[in-house]
Homo-oligomer: 214 residues x 2
Amino acid sequence: MTPATGEPSRGRRTARPSGDDRELAILATAERLLAEQPLSAISVDDLARGAGISRPTFYFYFASKDAVLLTLLDRVVAEADAAGLDPSLLPAAGPRAGWRHVITTYYESFRARRALIRAWAEARATNTEIRELWARVFADWTQRCAVAIDAERARGTAPPGPPALELAILLTSMNERALYATFSGDGPAVEETGIVEALLEVWLRAIYGASPVD
Amino acid sequence: MTPATGEPSRGRRTARPSGDDRELAILATAERLLAEQPLSAISVDDLARGAGISRPTFYFYFASKDAVLLTLLDRVVAEADAAGLDPSLLPAAGPRAGWRHVITTYYESFRARRALIRAWAEARATNTEIRELWARVFADWTQRCAVAIDAERARGTAPPGPPALELAILLTSMNERALYATFSGDGPAVEETGIVEALLEVWLRAIYGASPVD
DNA sequence: CCCGTTTCTCAACACCCTGTTGACTCGTTC
DNA sequence: GAACGAGTCAACAGGGTGTTGAGAAACGGG
């Protein structure tokens, strides 16, 4: 996915290996530094020195700092795709257990990559490609959730309500923002220990609870 | 509020007026430029030239580009405080109408200041003071919502559920993120025409709908 | 009316960061 | 062993930030 920015050197992989080592060193350095400081505080020079090369050499491997991040993110997205969580497969164990599993998995993958996701949000504000990657992942996820919601409605488990895709978008927006706040310690946020259950409760009520008559 | 960053010249206001004019010109320029381009694309020089002064002179009035934004945001926050929307005063017209009013007002003030809020989100990623301002506003808002929810529960209109403050945080997170996506045209988002009703539906279900037994 | 003080202004500077150029090294290949 | 491509970096060009120090311009008090 997203071949574009990061690769001024498409055919290089076939040649001798030391180049790949350098590329990996840059990626590893980026991940290490991101664990300690925000993206904006990391310079190309930091990445280059961390990988044991000079700045111009960095540009042989990546077009920019953002391109490094994009490569890391592509990797994460690929992993997530491989893990293959799919809300549309949920109803085995009843709604509560099913959706809890969905939200927990979302939570875990967020949690496991705090630093990266933080950087993702930071870069999203200024970089189009990164914003688009986010949009693609988001669209994919909400689409699957919408399918699951429609399935529940079709079999009579859930009552009718707003279009399933809208509901999925809103609930996922909530998860995204709330988890980000919780992990980044931004402002006031739900504590990490209870956040999955709290989110779950809202999901269940939004999907299964009827709206009050008035 | 937030006197800090923007004012290397505390006592100046008492003197002759042309200084204030310049300061206002900078603020107006910032607002004008933000309507067309993201914060990151605007340089201090752009702001200075737009206000008809040189870059060093800019620094006489503001400590940085972010300080200008912070001043604009303080202004918006003050206006919002003055308008005095307070969810804890809602129950006059029944839940649906009451909460619709709350969400609509939130939506309108977001909408009226798109550009500024966009910049706010952008700067929040890198600037501590701006992040803290956001956190303060957010905390204040959620606190009021929590009071309203507790009131509804106390008079038996709403069933028990997760702690009201948690619920308020989650629902506000949803609003914030979903409205931002809708206005910024980020990724997939609920269309602007239906977003208030969609949000309202989730709020009502989350607050008034019981959770399914399982 | 002049003189000190305060406000205000900016050319010039120091610095940091990004991205590019062009020359150089060094295996590989034919 | 010449030609090639991958890899490397000193040096440069350019744009941004924030500071310094030397003034101009307005006042206010004697």
